[in-house]
Amino acid sequence: MTFGSWLALVVAIVLSAEVVRWLRHRALRHERWRRFFRHPTAAWGCGILTFLIIVAIAAPLVAPLDPIVQPDPVRLKNHAPSLTFLMGTDVFSRDVWSRFAYGARVSLGIGALGALIAVSLGSCVGAVAGYYRRWVDAILMRGVDIGLALPRIFIVLMAVALWDRLSFAWLTLVIGLTSWFATSRLVRAEVLALRERDFVVAARALGVPSSRVIFGHVLPNAAAPIIVSAALSVGNVLLLEASLSFLGIGVAPPRPSWGNMIADGAVTIYTAPWTTLFAGLAISLVVMSLNAVADGLRDALDPRQDPA
C-alpha cells in the first residue's frame, strides 16, 4: 500500500460515514425518512454500500497496484495480509486489495445495471399484463411462469455456448434479461389493484391514452414496491454474477470480479484463505446491506404509515 492509497482509503471511510450522517440529518425533516432510519440496520447498510461504491468509483486511487499485473509470481505468491498487501496476494502474486477494488467496479456495476434492466423490464411487463388483463395477461404471465421455472444458470450456459465468451455488456444484459420475472409478478399484482382506483378510471374517462395512463398514473403509484424490489434485485444479480464467475462462465479472467476472485482462490482456500475471504465477505455484506435498506424503504414508502 502506498501512502496515496492509504489516504484514499481513509478518505473513503470518512466520506461514507459523512454521507450517512448527512442523510440522517436530512431525514429528520421528513416523517418517511425518519421511518427509514428507525431501522437500526438501515443506516449501517447505507454506510457499507456507500463505502463500497466509493471504493469502486475511486478504484485507481485506493488500489496501489494494477489488479492484473503479477509482481513476482515466485516470491510474492499467497503472501498473507500485511501493511504492504492489505488483503494479501493471491496465487499469481496479484494484490488482493487492488483486485477487490477493481472487482467492486465490475460486480457492483453488473449488479446495478442488471437490476436496472430487470426492474425496468419487469415493471413494464407487469404493468401491461395487469392493466390490459384478459389474454395479454394470460400470455405474459404464462411466459413468466416458464421463466421462473427455468434455471437461470442453464439459460446463461446456453448463451455462453452460443457466443463462446460473453463480454461485460452481454453478460449484464443476459443476467438482466433473466432476472425480471419476480418483479413483473409483483408489479402486476399492484397494477391490478391500482387500475380500479378512481383516479385511473378518471384518466380513462378523460381520454388519456393507455400508455400515458400506465406510465403517468399507474406506475408512479406502484413506485414503492418497485423500489424495494430493485434493491433486492441488485443483491440477486450480484449473487448470480458471482456464481457464474465462479463457474468460469461469468466475467472473463484476468479481469477481477468478486466471483472471479473466489474462483481463483478456491484452490488455496486452506493455505491462503484471504484470497477468497474478502470477496466472499463483500458479497455477503452487500446482499445483507441491500436487504436492510429494502426493509427500511418498505417502511418509509408505505403510504399506510403516512400521517394523514
Binding site: 383516479f199 378510471v201 374517462a205 388519456v208 408512479p220
Partner: protein, 335 residues
Amino acid sequence: MTAPPAPPPVAAPLVDVRDLVKHYAAERRWFGLGRPRPPVRAVDGVSFTIPSGRTLGLVGESGSGKTTVGRTMLRLQEATGGRVLFEGRDVFALDSRALRALRRRMQIVFQDPYSSLNPRMTVQETLREPLEIHGLAGTVAALLDEVGLDAVFAKRYPHELSGGQRQRVGIARALSVEPQFIVCDEPVSALDVSVQAQVLNLLADLQARRRLTYLFIAHDLAVVRHIADDVAVMYLGKIVERAPAAEIYALPRHPYTRALLSAVPEPDPKAKKNRIVLSGDVPSPAMPPPGCPFHPRCPHPLKSARCRTEVPPLREVPAGSGHLAACHYAEQPMK
C-alpha cells in the same frame, strides 16, 4: 350566406339509455373446475332518457347498481347488453377514435374525493393533462376559479387538500374538457354535511352556467330533491319507479320509494310522518327473488301471491302521466 343550422328536434333527448344490462361473471367453484355460479346482475334492463340541460336523479341503496349504470354508459366498463345513445349516436358502437372524441362530451365526478385524484400529481398537473391531450385553450387558473378555488391550490398535492377542496378539483377536472353531460356519482356522500350544500350549489351553478346535463346518483332521496328534474329509483339492478321529481315526492307509487321517502327528514317538524323501516337485507343481485324483486321486504298491505310469481313491468300509472312504477298495486300506493 349560410343557412342557420337546423334546430335539434325538441323531443330528442341528449342521453337515451335502452335496456342496459351489466352482469359480472362469477368465479367458478373449485378453482375454476366446478359448476359456474350465477352471474351478479348488477344492472338488469335499465332504460331512461335525459333531455339536454336537465338532471335525472338516480337513487337506490348501496349495491343497487347505480355506479355500474354510470360507468357502463361512459364505456368505462363493457356492458353486457342494451344500448346507450348520446345525441342519437350509439356509444357502444364507436371505434376508438370516435370514443376519444366522445370522452370530451361525457364526464364523471366520483364519490370518494380521496381516491379520485392521483396522489402523485399536483392539482395543476391533474388539470393540465386533459387540456393538453385534447389541445384545449382553457387554463388551470380559470378552471380553479370556476369551481371556487384559489389559484394557490394549483401547486398543492391532493393530501394537502380537504375533502371538499378535492371534490372541487375533481369537478374542475371533469369540466376541463368542456363536457355536455356529467355523471355525478354520489358527489357529496363522502363529504361533511356543511360542505355538502356548498358542493351541491356549485354543481347547480355550473349546470346553469354551462347548460350541463346531469345523471345525479345518490343513495337517498333527500340529496336529489333540489337538483333533480326527474327521479329514477333503482332496486337490485332494476328501475322500480321513475317520475318527475315533484310527482315522486308528492305521491310515490312504489312501496320501495315510499320507504326511502319516509327516511328523508321532513323540513316541517310538525308534519306527521310514519316512518317505514324495511325488514330484512337486500337480496344478493346474483340470486334475485322470483316475481317482484322487492316482494320479500315489501311492506305493502295488498301484497299477494301474485307478487311472488309475476314480475311487475315498469308501466305508466295513470296512463299518460309520465309516472312509471313497477308494482302490481301502483294504483293503490301505500300511504
